[in-house]
Subunit: 286 residues, 2 copies
């Protein structure tokens, strides 16, 4: 059915390749049919060259034929935007939700501290995600500068079109939301990962989310201060659940294609969310 | 003048990326204007997918903006084909020519031995070139599996068209000759490298060459046994001449563009060559 699908991944930098100290400008990926490879490359190069972070002098493209039998076809997480008026409120709600996912408040505070301080050993942001042990707070990524880079994910074209349509009803049809939802959907399917916290390092983009298989993709329009270039992504890992190495390998290598959409909802209050959460938790404990 | 030139490099493998053990299928590179990037990518992908070594399931493309001030515009080496009827004869002539370049017979025999045995530590061919010290025979590449990969080289479009025209008069207008001449021209401009010996690992392609700034690009239609997949490239290094690290860096990183062509000659006999060599050596010793 998915005959001849290809993973196309792009990363762009300024001042030389990433591995030679170039500044990361843009990265994106797609899963497409063979006949779409050239158009996809054109779009990805255009995207790299139009990025607000600057004009790249280095672009790397990876084209990889996928073993179609290994591609998992999945349904995206349902989306909600929880109403907030400032980032203090947004953060407090995000923390409460992470607590509802079974994470200790101390660990949650540590995770925020990481994203606010620059989690790489040199105090910079990371391109990949942090893996955080919810029992000890320990970071579990083999490389603390690189982090874990979730990859080989995309929407099937029909699902992408429908998502764009649904998101635009709420003014959310942008790369940030579409790509984060795709990534968060893959991550949420790993039983070892109880939840994800993310906000962008893009200074103008203050929104963020907490995602989990339990509650879906919960957006906050305010999760960080406007103008701040501090951001990143944390996966909260239950160490009892799974072999870490295998989980990392699958997050990075295993291809996932979103073929169906979870419900795209509008703005709700935190009280609305608590009711939804209550039903979700009751359902899960049955 | 060379405003906005880009280095586009492609490598393709089968069974996964090269760095994960995939089998190398094809590699090629170009230096082109911005508006030619997409067409070049299309050509390079097509080339990778049509290669006789097999269909690649992995293709990597690097797009790099070159600092145009650093691009050296050079003239290609003159080409001669020295008449041979079999590879015994071809090898003996190649060895004599390397002797004329000041390399000791023992070192020359060692260099042939390397290419015939598979020079990588595991007995495989190498994608990059061997650097061989002409005083000691020692190999100088920092990584004996990888070798030195000469890169960031191409013809200016007008020079490429004219070369294709000239080569086709002698039935030589193929990728092997065009790309080897380009590489050999860059290498010949390094005073530390007194000569180059090369034949392909492509079983059906028996031709090879000895190149040097002194004598030009000397082809032999027979330099190896038909059907043999043993081949590679050796640069003979005069250790007195230069800082090795800098030479390696420049071979791999410094962009060279062939803007003018040396003469493309037809077949000559070894005696004809000796006369040419005699004048060349006399000229050099003045």
């Amino acid at each position: 059915m998915n005959k001849n699908l290809y993973s196309i991944r792009m990363r762009a930098a300024q001042g030389g390749p990433h591995e030679c100290g170039g500044k990361h400008i843009s990265g994106a990926e797609r899963i497409v049919k063979e006949k779409e490879i050239m158009d996809t490359i054109r779009q990805l190069i255009y995207r790299a060259q139009q990025h607000e972070r600057g004009y790249p002098d280095y672009i790397n493209l990876n084209i990889e034929m996928l073993n179609t039998e290994n591609i998992r076809e999945v349904t995206s997480l349902p989306i909600y935007t929880i109403k907030t008026t400032n980032y203090f409120e947004g953060r407090e709600m995000a923390k409460k939700i992470l607590e509802l996912l079974g994470i200790n408040r101390t660990i949650i505070e540590q995770s925020f501290h990481h994203l606010l301080q620059g989690p790489a050993p040199n105090g910079a942001n990371m391109r990949g995600a942090i893996l955080m042990d919810i029992k000890t707070g320990q970071r579990l990524e083999p490389d603390l500068s690189r982090g874990i880079r979730v990859s080989r994910i995309d929407y099937k074209p029909e699902a992408a079109r429908e998502l764009a349509h649904q998101l635009s009803r709420y003014g959310l049809n942008n790369n940030h939301v579409r790509e984060a939802l795709c990534l968060a959907t893959k991550v949420s399917l790993f039983p070892a990962i109880v939840g994800e916290l993310c906000w962008s390092d893009d200074p103008s983009y203050t929104a963020g989310y907490v995602a989990s298989s339990k509650f879906g993709y919960l957006r906050f329009n305010h999760l960080k201060e406007k103008g701040s270039a501090r951001g990143g992504r944390i996966f909260f890992v239950d160490p009892a659940c799974s072999e870490l190495e295998k989980t990392i390998y699958r997050l990075e290598q295993e291809p996932y294609l979103i073929t169906k959409l979870g419900k795209v909802n509008g703005e709700i209050t935190y009280d609305d969310f608590k009711q939804i959460a209550h039903s979700a938790l009751k359902g899960a404990s049955k």
